[in-house]
């Protein structure tokens, strides 16, 4: 078996098939990153998986999963102003959490350098929106590299690190879902030898680091000065690609949409010229003007918002160019990932003579989507099944982020509103006001509790809100791949002090707390019914370990899982197991009989109590 860790450390380099998230770790090591931080979120958690593959004692880099993206950014910032090259990575919406810290970074002299790796998610594959984080770069005068392939991820991260160290400013490497997860063979160079010192280099002479009063403007001036200097520097950086097809038409694009464009161009005769930008902020103005001047029509092909378009149109206006610039058309151009299909559709709207949209073939067969499910044995399923029985139709349920968000799906329909990580207690508090007829129940995961859930809870105690909060504690950060969190007693590197959820709640002054294992469905139902009758802020800790993690660990240890269950003769087709409890192991046979798919059943038996006919029994 090939070892990813050995490949990442190899002194000679060599080539290997990797995803973008792995390639970036090799680049971090080559660039000499000393401190890396993150909070898990798709599409970036595999960056940490790659780091985890490096034997701890040989890893020159310190890594931690911080409790949230804001803290992660601060840890990386602190390391950088002490002279260490640092890197923070997280998902698109993680930048919202980190924003208060992030927007200050460009004003600081980051003497060690600092790279911010963003995993944007066009298409909202695994996020609550598809926000375009280039806006944040504009807001904060931060340069942005935008690689399209794993090879470019590798090269551009190193360029970004160099630039960051040189200008002592933050630099963003903006990835997107299918750049993070894109797979190809990447040629790695040799590993440079880094002489890492342990001398703290923080020095106020490098400042000011306190942006108060007149210094805030002084610091902004310094930031802008660097940013202007950077604009000239970037014109010369070899990160842009121009493909000349001798056309009067041109396309300016960047990142993964460039690859989609190349696919589409494989099939057309009249290929436009193409300019692919490697850095999307600030733009190489002179090169773009040159490209505009050489064409009659230029299409700006960009995923999500019209960020390039607005700037390029301004360049053309300022320079009196008559080139026809084709930007976004209808609102569909603003929505979704720019896959080859999407790019073909977008181009067909502006140049219908050359590009035709794909015709969907006619088939009488229609197949409904297969939504994600909670796993067999999931404690959340037991919880939702029990809680639903305790709720009235008029009650309002507030979801939060995590596996338990899936409770909003059929057949449970528990969780009716969702904003973002940790919003639930605050939103529920608002819903409880001027409301004496509809009871309000909020949900929160345990990792999210520490991430962004605490302020809402403190607020509920402080301002005496009237609601029930159910903390769905499964002992891990399950949805992103089972990362440890502060209540686990282990961090990324080591055993650590456990910070139990209950103790935190008590410390915060929550007086009405109940705790129960969710497999005790009758007990949980009773607790919810009771809590909902009481006034004030009530918390129920509904606990069961993540069973996917548990079964994986059992199998890894070579232990046998308990025997699966089957539906016995007592079954009189009430369909509670399959239709209401809805564990995916339960299947419907021809004729309506219910059976258990043994490949799926993990033998947890959380279903047994749901059967009104006591027909569920272990396989002999």
């Amino acid at each position: 078996m090939k070892s990813m860790g050995e490949m990442l450390l190899s002194t000679g380099g060599g080539s290997e098939i990797v995803i973008g998230n792995t390639a970036i770790v090799r680049a971090m090591l080559e660039a000499g990153v000393r401190v890396a931080t993150s909070y898990p979120g798709s599409p970036t958690p595999e960056i940490a998986s790659a780091i985890a593959s490096i034997p701890r004692e040989r890893n020159p880099m310190y890594f931690e999963f911080s409790v949230n993206e804001k803290v992660a950014t601060e840890v990386a910032f602190g390391a950088s102003i002490n002279g260490h090259l640092s890197c923070v990575f997280f998902k698109s919406v993680g930048l919202n959490v980190a924003a208060d810290t992030f927007v200050q970074l460009s004003m600081m002299e980051l003497i060690g350098g600092m790279v911010i790796v963003l995993g944007d998610d066009p298409g909202a594959n695994s996020s609550q929106n598809e926000q375009d984080n280039r806006h944040y770069a504009h807001l904060s005068y931060t340069p942005v590299f935008e690689p399209a392939t794993p090879s470019e991820v590798y090269v551009m991260f190193k360029q970004a690190a160099d630039l960051s160290r040189k200008l002592r400013m933050p630099v963003i490497v903006r990835l997107s879902t299918h750049v993070c997860h894109a797979k190809e063979k990447v040629d790695f160079g040799p590993m440079p030898v880094h002489e890492h010192g342990n001398k703290p280099l923080f020095c106020m002479e490098n400042g000011p680091y306190i942006p108060i009063a007149a210094d805030a403007l002084k610091m902004k001036r310094r930031t802008l000065h660097k940013f202007w200097e950077l604009k000239d520097l970037l014109e010369e950086l070899p990160v842009n690609i121009v493909e000349d097809n001798s056309s009067e038409r041109g396309v300016i694009t960047a990142g993964a949409p460039y690859l989609s464009l190349m696919d589409v161009l494989e099939e057309v005769e009249d290929k436009p010229d193409v300019m692919k930008l490697g850095i999307v902020h600030p733009l190489p103005k002179n090169r773009i003007l040159q490209f505009l001047k050489a064409h009659k029509e230029v299409k700006i092909l960009e995923e999500l918002d019209d960020v390039l378009e607005r700037e390029i149109k301004a360049f053309a206006y300022d320079n009196g160019l008559t080139t026809r610039i084709l930007g976004k058309g209808d609102l569909e151009d603003w929505i979704g990932e720019y896959t080859p299909d999407k790019v073909r559709e977008v181009l067909s709207k502006c140049w219908p003579d050359t590009f035709k949209p794909v015709k969907e073939p006619d088939s009488p067969v229609k197949l409904n989507a297969r939504p994600a499910q909670m796993c067999p044995g999931c404690g959340h399923r037991s919880a939702f099944h029990a809680i639903k029985l305790a709720l009235k139709d008029t009650d309002i349920t507030v979801a939060d982020i995590g596996c338990h968000t899936l409770g909003y799906l059929e057949p449970y329909r528990v969780g009716q509103v969702l904003l973002c990580m940790g919003h639930s207690t605050g939103t529920a508090a608002g819903l409880s006001m001027f409301n004496d007829s509809r009871r309000v129940v909020a949900f929160l995961g345990d990792s999210t509790f520490f991430h962004a859930g605490l302020p809402g809870i403190v607020n509920a105690v402080f301002n005496k809100h009237n609601l029930t909060l159910i903390i769905m504690e499964n002992g891990t950060t399950a949805m992103t791949g089972h990362q440890d969190h502060p209540a686990v007693g282990r961090n990324f590197n080591d055993v650590s002090q456990k910070i139990p959820v209950r103790q935190v709640l008590e410390g915060l002054g929550v007086s009405n707390i109940r705790e129960i294992d969710t497999y005790n469905q009758a007990g949980l139902k009773e607790y919810v019914e009771a809590a909902l009758e009481e006034e004030g802020f009530k918390v129920i800790i509904a606990r069961h370990p993540c069973m996917l993690k548990f079964t994986r660990e059992m199998r890894k240890k070579g232990k046998k899982l308990p025997r699966p269950v089957r539906v016995g003769e007592k079954c009189n087709l009430k369909y509670v197991c399959v239709g209401q409890f809805a564990c995916p192991s339960y299947q419907i046979a021809d004729g309506g009989r219910v059976w258990v798919q043994e490949d799926l059943c993990i033998g947890d038996r959380s279903c047994v109590q749901t059967c009104p006919s006591q027909a569920i029994e272990p396989v002999e």
């Binding site: 299918h178 896959t339 080859p340 969907e360 073939p361 067999p376």
Partner: protein, 191 residues
């Protein structure tokens, strides 16, 4: 090879990731360029997962254009039909392991389970070739992915990729007893 597109589909938990990674490495061992991506937004057990693999110098995006895959490989019957409807080109090939993990709609008795006849009918409309794979005596359902890989090898469905490329790829990714068991199962079927 200019371009040969393979779309893989299954249900979270079936081992699409390992299958896709092995195929990618097998293609690489055959000396051809390969790119691809797994798409696993919310890949809980039970959700749909897919993976795109693109062989040849004419492939750019890691995502395959709809209705243009040369080969669709599925580990589950419903996903086989979906993969064929969404990605297979006319005249392409579908290989599927005939496992059934019923989607929610079927379990809630709203729609009927997809039958093998439904797949045959759709394949006829697309003039596609179909290879149904099922191994009655498979001890561990988690090895369905290796069985289907062995069938791909036996039928030489990925141009230029030979048996030794598959086994070399497996040896890159697995070790010890797991590798041993998987290689044995592979050899048995691939011949």
């Amino acid at each position: 090879m200019k371009k040969y597109d393979i779309f893989l589909a299954g249900v979270g938990g079936q081992g699409i990731g390992l299958l896709s990674e092995t195929l990618a490495r097998a293609v690489d061992y055959s000396g051809q360029r390969v790119i691809g991506a797994d798409t696993h937004g919310l890949a809980q057990r039970g959700g749909m997962v897919s993976s795109h693999l693109r062989v040849g110098t004419g492939a750019h995006s890691v995502l395959i254009t709809r209705h243009s895959a040369d080969l669709v490989v599925a580990l589950e019957r419903h996903e086989a039909l979906r993969g064929m409807l969404d990605y297979l080109k006319d005249g392409g090939t579908l290989v599927y392991y005939d496992a059934v993990w019923q989607p929610l709609d079927v379990r809630l008795r709203r729609t009927a389970q997809v039958r093998n006849e439904d797949i045959e009918a759709e394949a006829a409309r697309k003039k596609a070739k179909v290879l149904r794979v099922f191994k009655e005596d498979l001890a561990d359902s988690r090895m369905q992915n290796v069985i289907i890989m062995a069938e791909l090898s036996k039928a030489k469905l990925i141009p230029g990729v030979e048996k030794e490329h598959y086994t070399a790829a497996l040896s890159d990714l697995l070790s010890g007893r797991v590798l041993e068991v998987n290689l044995k199962a592979f050899e048995e079927v691939a011949g």
